[in-house]
Amino acid sequence: MFDYHALLPEFILGATLLVVLGVDLLVAPRRRWLAGAAGIVGLLAAGVPLLTLAGVGGTREMFAGSYVVDDFALVVKGLFLVAGAIVLLASMSYLRGDRYYEGEYYFLILASIAGAVVMASARDLITMFIGLELVSAPAFLLAGWRKGDLRSNEASLKFFLIGVLSSAVLLFGMSLVYGTTGESTFTRIAGATAAVSGESAFVLGVLFTLVGFGFKIAAVPFHFWAPDTYQGAPLPVAAYLSVGSKGAGVVGLLTICYSAFAGARDVWGPALWVLAALTMTVGNLTALRQSNVVRLLGYSSVAHAGFILVPFAMAAAFEGPALEEAFFGSLTYLLVYAFMNLGAFAAVIAIAERTGSREIDDWAGLARYSPTLATLLGVFFFSLAGIPPLAGWFAKFVMFKAVLGDPGNAWGVSLAVIAAVNAVIALFFYARVLKAAFMDPAPESLPEGAPLSRPLAAALVITLAVTLAAGFYPQLLAFFGEAARGLALP
């Protein structure tokens, strides 16, 4: 029943949570960063069993198939662990910058990551729901971490209300799915769909489930909370939300769509076609008007959610390999996106500390007085824009490749064209920030900000390395995408 090897990562994470709390209690306030360090160590430790599991290989099912550790799960867990570690690195200096509760902060982040890790293996409605809540609940609190700041409170409450609301919708959908199919384990649901695929209750259930996840990944029109929350929340939290919780949402969507609803592709395929188109377009267009970098990144992450959804859109038409291709497209996009977006946020954090502002105008002439940061910003932003030779191009590429896969049809092509146009639009606002940083004159009195802290520098170096390496040698990330693509074959 229990496969301790398979569950080791989760156990280690649990232990880490306790350790972090303990450290927080024991060490003196100015040494609290040790809690963060412990957290990072824990995350990396949790990564070790992943490697061993990968080495052993094979798929391990537990609890009657409701908890599965397969290659997909391993890859995604690895992603969440690394992303979590980077977020923690980025958080440390930020937390020192103001009076925050440190220990609890690390605790909540780790808890949320644990939730994501659980979701990666969840193959059952209940498990999935639990995992999802475990991801979200700590995030609600983290969003409001800047207690004194009204915006932060507001961000937190909005995030919370909409979040719970969407959970309710999701649950309602799940209940309908359960009711119509009589199953809660994905594989069995998939088996039962054939019989009920016509029933409107079932369809309703599928759609409500999509809505629930649509909120998590901030797909239009379920995205409104995202920019406000990003703007109000502490920057590292925003970074986490845009990668960790969004990633969890994507993972949930991938597993539930491709395994549980594999038989209902004609339902979610078209629906997600619409969502993808809407999300890309609205996200990019609105991002054009932003003057606040964080808010801009919020909308950019919305737009990227749209790009991630694009490969889903043609599922109804696809079979076998093409389906795998689509799955691979979304997953690989997520992998690339995670690193470059974390990098972008890390750079923004660093620059915000340097310039003391998050307004694009205040970043004018950054390249003059701090070329390194400006260059980093350029790398990550243009990577987000998908300009070769930065990793972003590969994400866009697999996305296009997936949606154009055959048997392609006019829908696929038109969505690809929409995506192409969006890719061009996106360049506008990324380039705008860099124009400020590189081409506009520096202010007479240069802001003297804090020097770059070591942990943040480490975060930047890691993300930069991945972004460049994956740009020139995309197989680096594509490898994991390929390893995990098997899930798309029921």
Binding site: K158, S166, L204, L207, V211, V220, F222, F224, L285, D361
Partner: protein, 695 residues
Amino acid sequence: MTGMLSFAALSTAEGGHAAAAADPSGFLGLLAQGAWLIPVVPLLAVGLIVLFGKRLPFKGWELAEGALAFVALYSIALLIGNWVEPMAFERHVEIARVGLLPGGGSLVLEWGWVVDGLSIMMYFVVGVVGFFVFTYSKGYMKGDVRFTWFFAAFSIFAGGMLVLVSSPNTIQLIVGWELVGLASYLLIGHWWEDHANNAAATKAFIVNKVADLGLFLGVIIAALAVGSFRFTDLLDAVEAGDSALADVGVWVGLALFIGAMGKSAQWPFHVWLPDAMAGPTPVSSLMHAATMVTAGVYLLGRMFPFYQAEGFGAGLKPLILVIGALTLFLGGLVALVQDDIKKVLAYSTVSQLGYMTAAMGAGAYTAGLFHLFTHAFFKGLLFLAAGSVIHAVHSNNMSDMGGLRRFMPKTFWTFVIGSLALAGIVPLSGFWSKDEILASLYYDSQHGGGGLATFVLVLAVAGAFVTAFYMARAVNLTFFGKYQGAGHPHESPRVMTYPLIGLAALAAVGGLVNIPGAFPAFTDWLAARVHLPGDHHAAALNLGLAAIGTLAALAGIAIGTAIFGRQRATQRERDRFRIPLLYPLLEHKYYMDDLYDYALVRPIRGPLARATNWSNNVILDGVVNACGAAARRLSALVYGGLDQRGIDLGINAAAAAAGEAGGALRRVQTGKVQQYAAALFLGAVLLVVGFLIFG
């Protein structure tokens, strides 16, 4: 292996033509082998002058002079050789090869050189006249701002001209053709501080460029019809009656003739030549009288068998004839009213080129080229003499001259010899060539030319009268009567007078090399070529015509002297003969310059160009900007605070639309959580409804 130098022996030479000429052997063979030096040496001189000219004792003149001396001697040697043993020699150097579809053949680009009667004659003219002119220039250009550069450019011309006449294929012809055009541009605009000269230079270049379109297209069409750029292959095809070429024969002929019209200043392309007088006089002498402008006639000569062949170019002979006749007559008339002595000579040149072209049109190969030959001497001479006068008087206007024969006797006598030769007085060179042309026209009128040829013959005789008339006018106004100018004119230095004398000698006796019946040496020289020209030339002197021509000339001289011989107060009075319509027409050169200016140049440079630019900056860019308007408007850093109110030209609309879109989105994003929730449900409901309807 492609791209490697490979010497291709002349294919058609041993093709067993009926040609009397053949590949020379022995010493002559060596001579012909080495003839590639003729164009190359002057071009080398150019490089050397540009690099080292300024450091040399004579500032680079010696290099140019040396090159020309070499060419002159070499050409004389070839001339004698050709006399001894008619030559028809070609060599080719492949410079590129381009696959040709269909058929998989290749189009070969080559350099090469020809040594046959025609080219040798041109070498001789360029070399000898050029030698004299270069010598003269040393004195004329003394102390000029760009003395060295002048000789560099002049050598570019010599080289280019020789490249042109030595060319065995049309590509190299084009290269030479444009090189002399370049030299002409550079030298007309030699004193480029004054924009008037630049305008003249540009005009010359552009007018020629327009005509060159003909040359380019003709060459292209012919080359693709035959599959080769070589003249020999082209003319082979003509002899073989090749149908592919015959199909496009008229177009090829017409196009090439248009090219020739440009270079040889045939009406209506002649307008550039008079303006070209803005250049230094030696330039006018060598390029715009003796050699360059005859390139067109040379081309007609080179292609002569083509224009003779029925079904190929023969159909164009009437056209050529008429163009030539028009040019010779109209050009001559304008010369009557010019005050600038160089302009008189320039229009005279136009007119004489008309004679040559008409001769070609009449199928008179020898006659036309013989006139080219003699004209080179006496017109070159006349220009140099005029230059010597200008040098002394510091003015081009004959109204500033008069009575100069006392001050500068050498110039006077040589000028007179030149004038008489031009007028065609026995036994000077002009007489023989002009008489030959008249005879050929007469012959043509008897054999198929019909009424047209007769009419042209009449015009030609009239032209002879006009020629004599304006030369008499020029001589009288310049050298007789009272000196009208300022200062004390004096004879030019020896370095300038000796060339005058040399050329005068040639102008005097040059005609004797081709006395029909008695001594037709020139005819035989020219006949030496691969493809027989198949022209007709007077077997014996046609005394009747000769008499008529001479009488016309004498009449012209007599009347001209009668009118302009006596002292007159003003130019107006001198030009007393006033014909209400004709005179203003002539004064304004038939308004052709104005026509071109107002009909073509101004519209293109003005409205058309501006409209294009406007369409680019406003319409095309407008569309582009409109597409990006939303983004532009939103990116505060580039267009910070740009107020888009009242923008027209479509941008406004698009921008506004984009703005509205953004605005709408903005209104949605109220920050009110409940509306977010509403949106969430709305989205869900829409999804469901949409699916239940379409699903």
